[in-house]
Amino acid sequence: MTALISGLVLPLLAALAAIALPARARLPVALLGVGLTLAASIWLAISVWTNGAITVSLGGWQPPIGIALRADGLGAALGVMTALVMAAVALAARHEMEPLVAGPRTSFGFWPLMLLLWAALNAVFVSRDLFNLYVGLELITLTAVALVAISGKAEAIAAALRYLLFALAGSLLYLAGVVLSYAAHGTLDISLLAARTAVPGDALALGLMTAGLLVKTALFPFHVWLPPAHSAAPAPASAMLSALVPKASLLILLRLWFEAMPELATPVALFTLAGLGALAVIWGGVLALLQARLKLIVAYSTVAQLGYIFLVFPLAGGDGAAQPWAAGAWTGAMFQMLGHGLAKAAMFLAAGIYIAAVGSDRLSDVRGLARALPMTGFAFALASITLLGLPPSAGFTAKYLLMTGAFASGQWAWAFVLVGGGLLAAAYLYRPLTAIFAREIAVTPRPIPWGWQAVPLVLAMLSVALGLLSSVPFDFLQIGRPDQAAEGL
């Protein structure tokens, strides 16, 4: 319980301290906050591993009056992934967000925003109350929009405003669903909602909440805000926005469909969700092919990679009887969430190093940089392996489990999406990789400290290690798993 609460309180306190303390103390306090929150997240995961899912009723009040927090395997695993990405972002931002490099205003704003975003993400990972989740989502939106606009450039402000428009529309749709659900059942707790007596209005409430969350997850066709916002932000901010922020709304979506209202999952609804995911895989991949800037390629690839996770809706439970373990496809989608987070953060941090080294992320300018900055080139290549889904990465485990689910349940059409998406990823990652590993150097880079270059490499190696050592995370993700994940919707 202490670990769970620490993960929420520590980043909030560190954010306040980073605002209030004099300039000299800000960076040490922020880094201390990052270290402590990282420790709290790992501690939470260890206690979930040893004791099973942890439930806390805030203030001793039970739902429906009080708010329940619950850390299950999925929430704790996302918490650890977030902590690793945040720690890496902090180590990179120590260089990139220096007042002399980024300007005093950007440098001042970055640390509190990053810590607040972390607190909000952790809150969403453990909340069991629909309105509490709404507040968490809004906190994520506000900090993420501010992080997009933090450089103060005209294009960044326009991208941030467009992001805010979409995100607020999504929030209001979600809120409308929450209000209708409360009006019908008098509770906001996910576990109590699962035991409710169904009324006809439930489908409308779930539909509104789902629509709002899809906008926030940037699923096709609501993805148009994502690439400009993620590429306009400074690289460490992009890493958080792309690797972590969409996972929060996606997690709520999974909790709603698999835990709160699983009986509303009709074949048409499941097909629509997965169909939009498949279109996202293809459309995001095609648009990534057409981009000339590294950060835009990586941002469009996020649209595509998030699409895979939506295949879980029809495939979950598909191989419950065919495999020695249950819930293969569900776990595959979770591996995709974790592996994509680590790999995507590594890619954006690598892009940040290139921007610092040559002042641009155009493919023509990063040509040959693997010769001058071999560790960064290697990190980008390793992260690509995860996005491509090549063994032994986490992306491979994810696609293997999803594909087994597709064949075992006779829905083999979805396997084409997995294969086609992999081919598209190979095509759109081929261009940046050939540019980075070209023989001739286009622009002579400035030297980059060794410790900074190692940061994306460690993240990329973790995304591969997650696939190599997949049995421990596999078992961990089963802790507190909803029954519907094994039985299917």
Binding site: P64, I65, F131, Y134, V135, E138, T141, L142, V145, A146, A149, G152, K153, A154, I157, A158, A160, L161, R162, L164, L165, L168, A169, S171, L172, L175, A176, V179, Y182, A183, G186, L188
Partner: protein
């Protein structure tokens, strides 16, 4: 009876807000539209909480929280619109510049 009036007023406000959001490109008008939708939802929520014999306190607590969240979002949005107007000379998004 009066509860129906509150709920219908809330629904009307949501409708007005959605219209404003879709029909207007000036960002300040859109922020006002968001606030209209939010207020409509809160009014509806309050009416829903007052239906039973005993008054349900939870919607009131949630509405107050929601108002604070909406205020924070509006403040950030207005700040961004001011920054956009200063840097680009217009309070509309780049590809939507037209009449307000």
């Amino acid at each position: 009876m009066s509860l129906t009036v509150f709920a219908m007023t809330g629904a009307t406000l949501v409708g007005l807000g959605v219209y404003g959001l879709l029909a207007r490109v000036h960002m300040l008008r859109r922020i006002m539209a968001f606030n209209l939708i939010g207020s409509g939802l809160f009014l509806f929520f309050g009416a829903a909480g007052a239906r039973g014999a005993a008054l349900d306190p939870i919607p009131q607590a949630l509405i107050i929280t929601g108002i604070v969240v909406a205020l924070a979002a509006s403040a950030l949005a207005v700040g961004l619109v001011v920054a956009l107007a200063r840097s680009s000379g217009t309070a509309c998004l780049p590809d939507e510049a037209g009449d307000t």
